[in-house]
Amino acid sequence: MHRRSFLKALPTAALAAPLAAPGIRKAAAQAAPTRNETLLLVQEYGPNSLDMQGIGSSQPVNGVALNCYDRLVRFKRVKLDDVTTSFDINALEPELAESWQEASDGTSVTFKIRADARFHGGRSVTARDVKWSLDRAVSIGGFATTQMNAGSLEKPEQFVAVDDRTFRVDFARRDKLTMPNLAVTIPFVFDSELAIRNGGGDPWAKEYLKNNVAGGGAFKVEAWRPGTETIYTRNDDWKNGDLPKLRRVIARDIPSPSTRRALIERGDADISYGLPPKDFKDLADAGRIKVAAVPVPNAIWYVALNSALPPFNNLKLRQAVAWALPYEKIMQASLFGRGVPMWGGPATPAALKWPVPFPYSANIERAKALMAESGVAPFSTTLLFDAGSGTIAEPMAVLVKEALAPLGITVELNKIPGANFRGELNKKTAPMVINRFGGWLDWPDYFFFWNYHGNNSIFNIPSYQNPAMDRLIDGARFAPDAASYAQNVRGFLELGMQEVPFIAIAQPFHDVAMQRTIGGYQFWPCREPDFRFLTKG
């Protein structure tokens, strides 16, 4: 790999920069999108690849997959409020497929691909391209394969190109996540001929697709300078939806949040992605900038208590902690109100959804009583959090530390840099952890499968093990009917609240700041901006 990549690198290094610049000039001279057709977006960091299926792709790569590639289907768009359009995860809309039909015996689904769908190079999209792309997603390993498996999309044999325009997916089992999982960003469709031709012998053309877009989506990548900017131009021949209003999008990487805030307040940037909650609150209060606030589906901020190891393997102690946390203060001082409270709910879940408010609230008397019942002597422990989310997690951790002192629990804070954080979680020994999690597929059983199941995934941070819980989760995942699904969901929600390996704090908002002239903001599970629906002016 080393030698080959160097040989490739040399010409790239020598040619890329001089070639890229005239490219921009030419595009500007021909099409000349006006500033009103050009969007300037600022974000903390940009994509590290152009291939969301590739191993190690960062969060912003989802945006490339979303805008430069198409999927067979997408989630039905639903208006959330005046600023944001969100989605209905239970309903699908056509994208590359014009129609689809589930088999009457429920073992497969057959898609009809649009006749006028074309890749950027002009070639018609065929079922073979779809098969190659989905085969790739289940075979390439890493996150893409894990995500596909989450919807029981596991083997290439499940994907069948019936003829040029007909594509069939054979279901591995009855799984309600299979269809929605075809609409997330991962199963997008490549121009397989172009990819294989340039793959240099690699059957999945990983190296080529990392640096090149080979798709048919609404935008093309005009220039990509990792760590600096990504420039998208509209694919004027896009037929799989209404032609986007924006003709060009410049996404600049601006690491400093203060600078991003200055840029949006001065009106130089059209959209700012990812500001600390305090800045969003200020912007929302000031009212000059439009702020899109979407409660992130399926996600919560939580404090996890290691239920497998002493002292937190003591149920009463966990409940004592849950009654001791200063929820309201955390909401104000660390989230600045940018979230939905997940405390102070009724004793049984108010609704069969996730997240749902837990029955706990700050009640130090109750906490002290439970602490006494637990029989645990005063002790010292450690609270871990990721330095990368420090703006929120650090004040939260300090408040937790303060609140637990009256119970005789001395908490030492341990802020861990990003790369080490997952490693620490993998050790499964951390007594207390502050973290945030949300699955793309917004079902309660999906969250519980990752976080509470005895298979002990990395996200089961408390290492919670309970056969009764596993039965309820599995029962809900593959429930034959609505009644048994509801019964199992109620069961695991109640058990989770009762046993509190995770203490829910709040459901975070996904906040995006934009100028008043910007419209059509679309929120998807991957949370990246969709340029296809944005308007300016």
Partner: protein
Amino acid sequence: MRGVLWRLAGSLPALAAVVVVTFILTRVLPGDTATYFAGPTASAESIAQIRTALGLDRPLPEQFWSYVVALFHGDLGMSLTTGQPVLVDILARLPASAELTLCGLVLAMAVAIPLGIIAAVRQGSLADHACRVIVTAGVSLPVFFTGLLLVYVFYFLLGWSPAPLGRLDAFASAPPTVTGFYLIDAALIGDWETWRSAFAQLVLPAVTLGLFALAPIARITRASMLAVLGAEFIRTARAAGLASRTIILTYALRNALLPVVTTLGMVFSFLLGANVLVEKVFAWPGIGSYAVEALIASDGAPVQGFVLTMAILYVALNLTIDLINRALDPRARQA
């Protein structure tokens, strides 16, 4: 010439040591690259797959061997944070840092050297005290603070400075790369619009860096001038009735410049790698923030590449300084 070659050969063991040490350091750091890049919802298998793909499951000596072999082919490995070969990244980012640092340094020199001279000549005067205040302020104000302050005043409040979006305005296009210095490249093709845009973007970060670099240069100039002004040959020159301008600029300054030049070299190499915070505030795509981001992600190859580049630069810089010193001072030529 022979001396130069000897000097170069002498730096080879140091470079070899740098290669070994950075390799070991990036491997013993507690972070787990594979887990980090496996991303959310990673299973144990997908982490293992990534580890195999990155070659991190092989024994350390084997990893080191393939690293060294690749190095001899000029391959610094792949960056996982940007997804590009490290060499390409560094070649793209080094000019950005170098341009900014050089501008900051020139600015600092233009202010600090005259300031230091005046402070030394008029010891205890108002100018001397002013020098002391400026120097103290320059050192004690953290660069990110001065940077943010300048952005706040000159961009946010006054609107004199362009948006701090990096090296160029979002709607300008980069000049074709010759040196990688936008000011030079734009001037080469006579594209003065781009030149102005690049220059405008450069002013605030260069001033921020300059303020920081001011202190060591002014101090060393003052100290070294004081030492020289007290020397016997200056007294002789004074006694001989030479004009004070001639004494200060021709005799004293030339002798006092040696330590100043040495300090300049140190300040330059220090600024080049250490202006991370300025790069962050001004979204400058430089080499310092590149290395820090890689470090946070436990991304070994860019860190190794960065340290190696810095080591090579340092060697080159020291050599240059020696040559300048020889040109300035005949005594150094004989040594």
